[in-house]
């Protein structure tokens, strides 16, 4: 029998030690905890915050420990009930500048986390929470862009004294301009070519009196990707305001965004905040002499006044709001205090300076979506999600003096409305409306049940398989059993290092790996038995068995690995979780089932010179 190199034993020991250390953190159950951070991202958690929290919860005896982390203060408890009680206690206290979120705080000992050993992440199906997939309606972003350009064009035309008969954004999202004579049209065309580079040139037209301005493909792509980026940023801000620990906000594919909020139960509320595309627009009230085509009539929000005409020109939008805070005015009515950024402040100042005595309208713009039914080519009714805008005036107040960077909005219904408006203004506006195309919510009780089911089925599966191979292969069965257990340890260690997410199908993948990983050993052991039957010496038979079975094992595992990788790249959600553990399990099982068992067998039989029989 060939000598088994010392370095191989050494390698196995190193890998085994490494596997045990890095899978260890998963044995420490996390504490139900509450984390408190400042609303404003510029403020980091400090001793002062910790003291304020201590003041509120000290008497309660509900917590086990309070820690000051980098971005937040962490309050550990020993039960989910206490966790909720602490959250309620803090939420109902008068701390308006903080966000209180539920968290599961790891209890990994320092010596482990110092070497980067941390537990696996649990998927939403195991810890409870919400998963949203949202589709961004980039068409609206494109239309908004064209609207903005159109406004700009009107001003330029006025400055250059170019008279036009009509200027509007057409249904095909092009800007349609109509002129009274070909000369003006030509003049306009030159002007447009000079200033704007976002259109497809040369400009097209239906006749010699009109111009159609189509955005170039490059520009459309840019607008779309900007819209998604801004929506991502806005969503991140809003998620932070919601108070969720370890949220995920990610782009998926071309036009979609995934949001995962562990621990959130009230999906209606979460959706309400995330999906709101409300923003503000500031307009001057239209005067009697404002032409019909430049003003629009808007209703008052909640019917608080008669509809009023506002000028179409937007002074500034909600994106120039630096901060917004809900509070109460002298009469105890809800209001929102707004601070603009520098640019916004000067725009506001310029617009209001010359218009003292006139009225400034604040328009509340909300993007909503509804389902309409259309007929497809086959004549079937198919549901289509369509988004539309609702614009309502929330305040129309006389300008008493030129406004600057700070001012306030009054005329709101209730404190909850003022705080919601403040939140939406703070967190920014969405560049394009979004529709929810997928939602998966798992309650905490189901999450806990899923963990239990996963663990139980894994225990039973392992027990059955170990029992069988011990009975069937005796000493070699011990080798295979050790290898199998080692395989699970290694799998968990690698999952933890990659900080991969463990889901219920992922656990199923581990269980399946347990059943299938034995295959390599079965192949080897059957081969050894065969060689023994041919009359070979035991040690020779072991050698031959391992050597001959290797290629078969290799081929069989590579093909399964191909399937797993395809699942990984094509799959979403449950499929992906399954594919991750399956592929890692295949790789680790090759190592443990071949090298691991070989080392064990050699340790037992390798040193015996005249081995008569082996127990297989």
């Amino acid at each position: 029998m060939k000598r088994y190199g010392i370095w191989k034993y050494f390698l196995i020991l190193v890998v085994l030690g490494f596997g045990i250390v890095y899978s260890l953190p998963n044995l420490y159950a996390p504490d139900p905890a509450v984390q408190v951070s400042y609303t404003s991202s510029s403020q980091t958690a400090d001793k002062f915050l910790e003291d304020r929290i201590l003041n509120i919860i000290q008497e309660s005896n509900l917590y086990t420990q309070i820690e000051l982390e980098k971005d937040y203060v962490l309050i550990r408890t020993d039960s989910y009930q206490n966790q909720l009680k602490i959250k309620d206690l803090l939420s109902s206290s008068q701390m308006n500048d903080v966000v209180v979120a539920l968290n599961l705080a790891p209890t990994t000992p320092d010596w482990l986390s110092d070497i980067g050993a941390n537990p696996m992440k649990l998927g939403l199906d195991l810890r409870g929470g919400v998963h949203f997939l949202m589709q961004v309606d980039t068409d609206t972003a494109i239309k908004n862009r064209q609207d903005g350009t159109l406004q700009d064009l009107r001003i330029r035309f006025r400055e250059e004294k170019i008279r036009y008969a009509q200027a509007k954004v057409d249904t095909d999202r092009s800007i349609l301009l109509e002129f009274n004579n070909p000369e003006t049209r030509e003049k306009a065309e030159e002007l447009i070519e000079d200033i704007y580079n976002q259109f497809n040139y040369p400009l097209t037209s239906d006749n010699d009196l009109s111009l159609k301005l189509f955005l170039s493909d490059l520009e459309i792509e840019q607008i779309e990707s900007d819209a998604i980026d801004q929506n991502l940023t806005t969503l991140r801000n809003r998620v932070n305001e919601l108070g969720v620990s370890e949220p995920i906000v990610q782009r998926q594919g071309k036009k979609r965004i995934v949001v995962q909020l562990p621990g959130i139960q009230d999906t209606a509320e979460a959706k309400n905040i995330l999906g709101k595309t409300a923003t503000l627009e500031f307009h001057l009230e239209a005067q009697m002499d404002t032409p019909r085509s430049r003003k629009t009539s808007y209703p008052f929000r909640n019917g608080l006044g008669a509809p009023a005409f506002l000028q179409d020109t937007i002074i500034l939008g909600g994106d120039q709001v630096a901060t917004a805070q809900a509070s109460f005015d002298e009469n105890g009515l809800p209001q929102v205090n707004i601070t603009l950024d520098g640019d916004g402040g000067s725009k506001m100042n310029r617009a209001t300076r010359g218009n003292i005595g006139k009225r400034l309208g604040v328009l509340f713009v909300e993007q909503k979506s509804r389902t309409i039914y259309e007929r497809n080519e086959l004549g079937q009714q198919i549901p289509v999600q369509e988004s539309y805008e609702v614009k309502e005036i929330i305040s129309l107040a006389t300008i008493r003096a030129a406004l600057g960077t700070t001012f306030r909005i009054t005329g709101l219904d209730s404190p909850s409305e003022s705080s919601e408006l403040a939140l939406l203004l703070r967190a920014g506006a969405l560049a394009a409306p979004m529709t929810f195309v997928e939602e998966r919510t798992v309650g905490p009780s189901l999450g806990a049940d899923n963990i239990q089911a996963g663990v139980f089925s894994m225990q039973l599966g392992l027990l059955l398989v170990l029992g069988f191979i011990l009975f069937y292969y005796r000493i070699f069965g011990i080798a295979a059993s050790l290898a199998l257990s080692f395989n699970i340890v290694l799998l968990v260690a690698i999952m933890s290092i990659l900080s991969a997410t463990l889901t219920l199908p992922g656990i199923a993948g581990i269980v399946l790996t347990v059943g299938m990983a034995v295959d390599a050993n079965v192949l080897i052991f059957s081969r050894i038995r065969e060689e023994l039957k041919k009359g070979r010496e035991p040690l020779e038979a072991i050698d031959a068995g391992y050597n001959r079975a290797f290629l078969t094992i290799w081929d069989a595992n590579v093909t399964t690995l191909i399937v797993a990788v395809i699942l990984l790249s094509y799959g979403t959600g449950p499929v992906k979780g399954f594919a991750i553990t399956l592929s890692i399990g295949i790789i680790t099982s090759m190592f443990t089932a071949i090298m691991g068992t070989r080392a064990f067998v050699n340790l037992i039989y390798g040193s015996r010179k005249n081995l008569e029989r082996i127990s297989i």
């Binding site: 589709q135 139960q265 929810f436 919510t441 009780s445 199908p505 081929d555 399964t560 499929v575």
Partner: protein
């Protein structure tokens, strides 16, 4: 284990049996179709847990009064858990509306929200397309790998066996109308991997024996190979079935269909690697000559582990 079974004596019978299975599966797929789960049809699903036994007729009544006609209500797992399904709906807010409706109509007793799922219509059809694509790509890669490692006839035989397995498992799901969702799709792909595993082990042996045995016919060689690998095939299938049954029994409602698909798949896959793949090789006329060229290239097929 020592076997000396004349497998190929049974091959005509196996052929007839497989044809019947395939025929039944395909006609069921055409006539009854699959019971597509929410992942693929789109719609809303709510799972609730009541403190005591849930009163299904009452819940149905409440839902109809609340304007949710056409909602399917059924127990899920236990008599306290209720699953409400609204297939094909396109509003993302129905789930929360149902939850608040049923929570308020339960006379103050708390209803525990277990799960809400909403899948929009476009997502459903996308998932279906992606699943189909993944399956085809998996098959194509398998074929390439086997053709590269073995020989094109083995690739053909393996793919025939795989298609056979997939059609029969899907056929069983259609026949007994078990819901076909994303996890079942994942299981189906795992079946492809598993069944291939078996087929490769057998093919490996056939290749080895064709080179080393001085047997008269390919049939004889294949029969010997099947006998030599049978012990291993059965043991691996057994250990895999052991863990699958533990998943089926203890894994919870969400894993049940996944385990079921794999259980069918492992059984059919074991059968097909013995009868279908080997049969296909014989029918395609595999002889010693087909492996000769490769033999020269791969002289040493026993590298050290």
């Amino acid at each position: 284990m020592n076997f000396n079974i004349d497998f190929l004596a049974w091959r005509k019978i196996a052929l007839v049996l497989s044809s019947i299975f395939l025929l039944v599966s395909l006609s069921s797929l055409f006539l009854k179709e699959l019971n597509w789960g929410l992942d693929f049809t789109g719609g809303t699903l709510v799972e609730l847990s009541y403190p005591n036994e849930a009163n299904i007729p009452q819940i149905r009544q409440n839902l109809i009064q609340g304007g949710f006609e056409g909602a399917q209500v059924a127990n899920f797992g236990s008599s306290r858990e209720v699953l409400i399904k609204l297939p094909g709906t396109v509003s993302d807010s129905l789930g929360s509306e149902i939850v608040s409706l049923l929570s308020t109509s339960n006379e103050g007793k708390t209803v525990d929200l277990r799960r809400i799922e909403y899948v929009g219509p476009q997502i459903g059809s996308e998932l279906r397309d992606d699943g189909g694509t993944a399956m085809l790509i998996a098959l194509a890669f398998m074929m390439l790998y086997i053709a590269f490692r073995f020989q094109s006839m083995f690739a053909g035989a393996a793919v025939i066996a795989l298609v056979h397995d997939v059609i029969i498992v899907v056929g069983i799901f259609s026949l007994i109308q078990i819901e076909f969702d994303l996890t079942v799709l994942a299981a189906l792909l795992a079946v492809i991997g598993y069944s291939l595993n078996d087929t490769i082990v057998v093919s490996d042996r056939i290749r080895e024996n064709i080179r080393s045995m001085d047997a008269e016919s390919t049939e004889e060689i294949i029969n010997t190979s099947l006998n030599q690998t049978l012990g291993r095939t059965l043991i691996t299938s057994l250990t895999t079935l052991l863990v699958l049954f533990s998943l089926f029994i203890l894994g919870g409602e969400l894993i049940k269909n996944f385990a079921l698909a794999l259980i069918f798949g492992v059984i059919v896959g074991t059968y097909s690697s013995i009868y279908i793949a080997a049969n296909a090789l014989i029918m395609m006329g595999l002889t010693k000559d087909h492996l000769k060229v490769e033999e020269a290239e791969n002289a040493d097929d026993n590298p050290l582990p």
